[in-house]
């Protein structure tokens, strides 16, 4: 049953304690709908929910699918619903939930591909659409050297640049769940991050997305996105500041000379 020792992601904990993990399974080839499956997992106080899942995969049920990579809250792969709240499995500890059951489900508001793996095509398409890179004002030869930026200029966007694309904010946003066309919190936070960067001149190109019917006004300031962010980004702020920007643009276009933008 067990794979060779070298390949295992977990070691057998010997604390004697066990915790029940109720995991939402969905195997498209056999399940009509997702079903909870319970596992009794031995654990020690240093084990994360991710390590609990790895224990299940290594020792109890090799068919369980989930995404993970870094184990230290920077790759953004292991976002899932843990007892109903979007969290990184690597950053949530079994000891904090014990003796309750741990209910683990795929991130809310996304289609489930299999078990805890979601379909993220929509997120990736939106990510590409905002041009998440610095768009220069004009082509700049290497010989001119690096861009200079003051600490104050950096402060403006710094928190928004901490986003790791883990999509927890999407699983926290009921407006995204109700209308998946909504650009959503994380993408707007990233868009805002580039718009605020003194080196960037792409705001004008990103504007139609902000202003559109799928843009910022789908947000109703629930604010849960900012509560669940594991990197302390405030996407709700990015979205709501851009509502004001979009409103300015809406009315200013009426007084701007013709040809001054769409």
């Amino acid at each position: 049953m067990a794979r060779p020792e070298m390949q295992q992601d977990t070691e057998m904990p010997d604390s004697g304690k066990t915790i029940v993990m109720d995991v939402l399974r969905y195997r498209p080839e056999q399940d009509d709908r997702p079903v909870l499956q319970s596992y009794e997992v031995p654990f020690s106080d240093d084990m994360s929910v991710l390590q609990g899942l790895q224990y299940i995969k290594d020792y109890l049920d090799g068919s369980l699918s989930f995404r993970w990579s870094c184990r230290m809250a920077i790759c953004g792969s292991c976002g899932m619903m843990i007892n109903g709240r979007p969290q990184l499995a690597c950053k949530t500890f079994l000891r904090d939930i014990y003796p309750e059951h741990v209910r683990v489900e795929a991130l809310a508001h996304f289609p489930i591909e299999r078990d805890l793996v979601i379909v993220m095509d929509d997120f990736i398409e939106k990510l590409e659409s905002i041009k998440p890179y610095i768009i220069e004002k004009q082509p700049r030869p290497l010989a001119e050297g690096e861009y200079l930026q003051t600490p104050a200029e950096r402060d403006l966007y710094e928190q928004f640049s901490s986003c790791i694309n883990c999509m927890l904010c999407y699983a926290a946003c009921p407006q995204y769940g109700l209308n998946p066309k909504f650009l959503g919190p994380g993408i707007i936070a990233l868009l805002h991050r580039y718009n605020l960067d003194s080196r960037d001149a792409g705001a004008e190109q990103r504007k139609p997305l902000v202003n559109s019917e799928d843009g910022v006004y789908n947000c109703t300031a629930v604010g849960f996105c900012s509560e669940v962010c594991p990197k302390l980004v405030d996407p709700a702020n990015a979205v709501n500041v851009n509502k004001m920007e979009a409103a300015k643009d809406y009315f200013l276009r009426l007084v701007r000379p013709r040809g001054g933008g769409k």
Binding site: S129, L209, K243
Partner: protein, 123 residues
């Protein structure tokens, strides 16, 4: 998914919602207390506080009329917008009819307020 770039007309309604939300957060509680509790019960306020002479004089002045207009109209726009979104939140898929009510009533109320105030004239 294809990304829709059609410009949203929401700014108009969002600004009215925001202005009404702020105004009702600032003066809502005290106004409700004055008109609905304090004066009717004679609590903390003299009974003649809202006498016809006083309130008519208020509505007759530019600044008073503007205040009354802002309160009445913006409270309506704030509530209408929020209720419209709540219908969406509840999964009731508000259609053109709900939109007509949620934004039509505030519009009608605005017009009635203008008419009522204008009919009193200004000093």
């Amino acid at each position: 998914m294809s990304i829709n770039l059609k410009r949203s007309n929401a700014p108009v309604f969002w600004l009215l919602f925001g202005a009404g939300g702020m105004l009702s957060a600032l003066v809502g509680p005290v106004l409700v207390f004055i008109t609905g509790i304090g004066v009717p019960l004679g609590l903390l306020l003299p009974e003649n506080t809202l006498s016809y002479t006083h309130v008519h004089a208020l509505a007759h002045s530019w600044i008073g009329a503007l205040f009354l207009f802002a309160v009445v109209a913006l409270f309506f726009w704030h509530a209408g917008h929020r209720i419209y979104h709540s219908l969406h939140d509840l999964g009731l898929h508000p259609g053109a009819g709900a939109k007509l009510v949620c934004y039509g009533v505030p519009l009608l109320a605005t017009l009635i307020a203008v008419y009522a105030l204008a009919s009193m004239g200004y000093s």
